[in-house]
């Protein structure tokens, strides 16, 4: 169990994120078919595969700072994903990297600070608010839970686990929402009753972090 997020953890995190997405690709497709354009599964799978490949090839973790690595990932997400998800996930990592800066490890509190900054960048690009039925509805409570756990003195394992639980709850809470951002907003009332695909993939991102932390 890692006690801080190092570059090794981050690289493993992305690999695990891709693994989960690849396995759940059909599920994401199904969600995006219901209220979107059916590309979120393949899009995330294809894009993350590229990001992970670059990360592994370049052995990017070895010397860079954590901030540099997160920004590197942010840039790769931008050029690999496409769609709405690409720039938004990219913003999350670019924002997080900017705050992580020259550090080489993040404790739970620093991780929360960093991700909170990432979320702010995501909102700067996409203007999502709570309840708009987007990935923000999974990510925001997750970062909030992480912050809370860190403030309560929890270790990294426990803090990320509560973040994941909050993401899952946030994802489920998107089902009854009427979409106000992204493609699902075109559907009006018909968007109600479906889980948001971006909230689902964002939850996978948080779960992958739990796994990566547990593994190291």
């Amino acid at each position: 169990m890692a006690t801080a997020v190092t570059n090794e953890v981050i690289i493993d995190w992305l690999a695990r994120f891709h693994d989960i997405v690849a396995k759940q690709r059909a599920y994401l497709t199904e969600l995006d078919s219901a209220i979107g354009d059916a590309d979120h599964g393949v899009n995330m799978d294809r894009g993350l595969a590229q990001v992970v490949e670059t990360l592994t090839q370049q052995d990017a973790g070895s010397d860079a700072s954590t901030g540099a690595l997160l920004q590197h990932i942010g840039n790769d997400l931008l050029t690999s994903l496409g769609g709405a998800a690409g720039p938004l996930y990219s913003a999350l990592f670019l924002g997080a990297g900017a705050v992580a800066g020259e550090r080489t490890r993040l404790d739970p509190g620093e991780l929360a600070d960093s991700l909170r900054a990432g979320l702010a960048e995501l909102v700067r690009r996409g203007s999502a608010e709570s309840g708009d039925k987007t990935m923000f509805d999974a990510l925001d409570p997750a970062v909030e839970a992480l912050r809370q756990a860190a403030d309560d003195g929890a270790g990294l394992g426990q803090a990320t686990a509560s973040a994941a639980a909050a993401a899952v709850a946030g994802r489920e809470a998107t089902a009854p929402m009427l979409a106000r951002k992204g493609r699902a907003s075109y559907l009006g009332e018909r968007s109600i009753g479906h889980v948001d695909p971006g909230a689902a993939s964002a939850t996978m991102l948080v779960i992958a972090l739990v796994e990566a932390v547990a593994q190291e």
């Binding site: 497709t29 078919s33 219901a34 209220i35 979107g36 354009d37 059916a38 590309d39 393949v42 899009n43 294809r46 931008l78 050029t79 690999s80 994903l81 496409g82 769609g83 709405a84 998800a85 690409g86 720039p87 938004l88 690009r125 996409g126 106000r180 951002k181 992204g182 493609r183 907003s185 075109y186 559907l187 009006g188 018909r190």
Partner: protein, 331 residues
């Protein structure tokens, strides 16, 4: 799923390769990052025009690269916006020193990716202006949505802005003409059967034998409402009325009437819709002075059609009539 494809993952690449070979007199294909540009390169002193978006809407946009229309087109994966690293070199390739106009359909993904690319281009001292096409009246344009979608009206924006650029208009002027088209063009679509996205393998939505989706977009998204199947005349009214109302068309005005096929509906049926749409407009005292009928902004093999109406004036008419030489539009 049966399609004339090899590995679905190669669908866009294989298709673009064939397209570039078939139209090597008009376009060049840059392989990585992928974009399509005018065969002769940027035209010195002319404002460059760049558009792009997810694939699956062919001939949009690559089919409109050539003299009198786009200088470059950036295709993403199927129904997925292209990325900034593709868009940036396309902007560079289109820049003849007079700046570049990017024409973006209003989808969150397209908007965000183009925004980033434009920021990068500006950092490289390319003058860039951008317009957002949002002609789909099926979508409420309110604070509570991502705004109206860009659909078939994009063809009119690209054609008319393209003609303005070829006439030597400067960047601000070309952008202004594009904005004027956007302000005066509206569309509404219907689907009779869903498209099959290659990597999904099944229809994007299920429609009963006696149902149609009204207010659909061009990505196999469900529409605004599902209604019982009806005769062409009735369906056409469902499309024309909201378009004409939203435009506030009045007696004596003249328009371009564009009936666009979604990819899987026979041309003969599009003409049935056209005939009815034209009569409906004429009943409102509107003159149809220009027409376009065909599959221009498609949604793979979706069955259905959309009706687009553009309010015309002398200048827009002249620009619409100006010569164009692209794979999909030529006169």
């Amino acid at each position: 799923m049966k399609k004339l494809l090899n590995d679905p993952a190669d669908a866009v690449a294989d298709s673009l390769a064939g397209f570039a070979l078939a139209h090597s007199d008009l376009v060049r294909l840059s392989p990585a990052p992928v974009f399509v540009s005018r065969a002769g390169g940027a035209v010195t002193g002319k404002v460059g025009l760049v558009s792009g978006g997810g694939s699956g809407h062919e001939p949009l946009h690559a089919g409109f690269v050539g003299d009198g229309m786009l200088d470059a087109a950036v295709p993403g994966a199927v129904f997925t916006s292209p990325t900034p690293d593709q868009i940036l070199p396309a902007i560079q390739a289109a820049d003849g020193g007079a700046g570049v106009l990017t024409i973006v359909k209003n989808y969150t993904g397209d908007v965000l990716n183009f925004e980033t690319a434009v920021e990068l281009a500006v950092e490289e001292d390319i003058e860039v202006a951008s317009v957002l096409v949002n002609d789909d009246v099926a979508v409420e344009d309110s604070l509570y949505t991502a705004g109206r979608r860009g659909v078939a009206g994009t063809v009119a924006v690209e054609k008319i802005a393209g003609a303005a650029a070829y006439r030597g208009t400067d960047l601000a002027g070309v952008a202004a003409v594009a904005e004027r088209v956007i302000a005066n063009v509206r569309s509404m679509g219907v689907a009779l059967a869903a498209p099959v996205v290659p990597h999904v393998g099944g229809p994007s939505f299920d429609l009963g034998d006696d149902e149609i989706e009204v207010g659909i977009g061009i990505h196999g998204e469900p529409g605004r409402r599902r209604v019982p199947a009806a005769a062409a005349d009735a369906v056409t009214e469902m499309l024309v009325a909201p378009v004409a109302d939203d435009l506030g068309l009045g007696r004596g005005e003249r328009v371009l009437l564009f009936v666009n096929g979604m990819g899987g509906t026979p041309l003969s049926e599009l003409y049935v819709v056209y005939g009815r749409a034209r009569r409906l407009l004429e009943e409102r005292g509107v003159t149809v002075s220009r027409s376009l009928v065909g599959n221009y902004v498609t949604s793979l093999e979706m069955q259905g059609a959309s009706v687009t109406v553009l309010r015309l004036d002398d200048e827009l008419e002249t620009l619409w009539d100006a010569p164009v030489n692209t794979a999909a539009l030529r006169w």
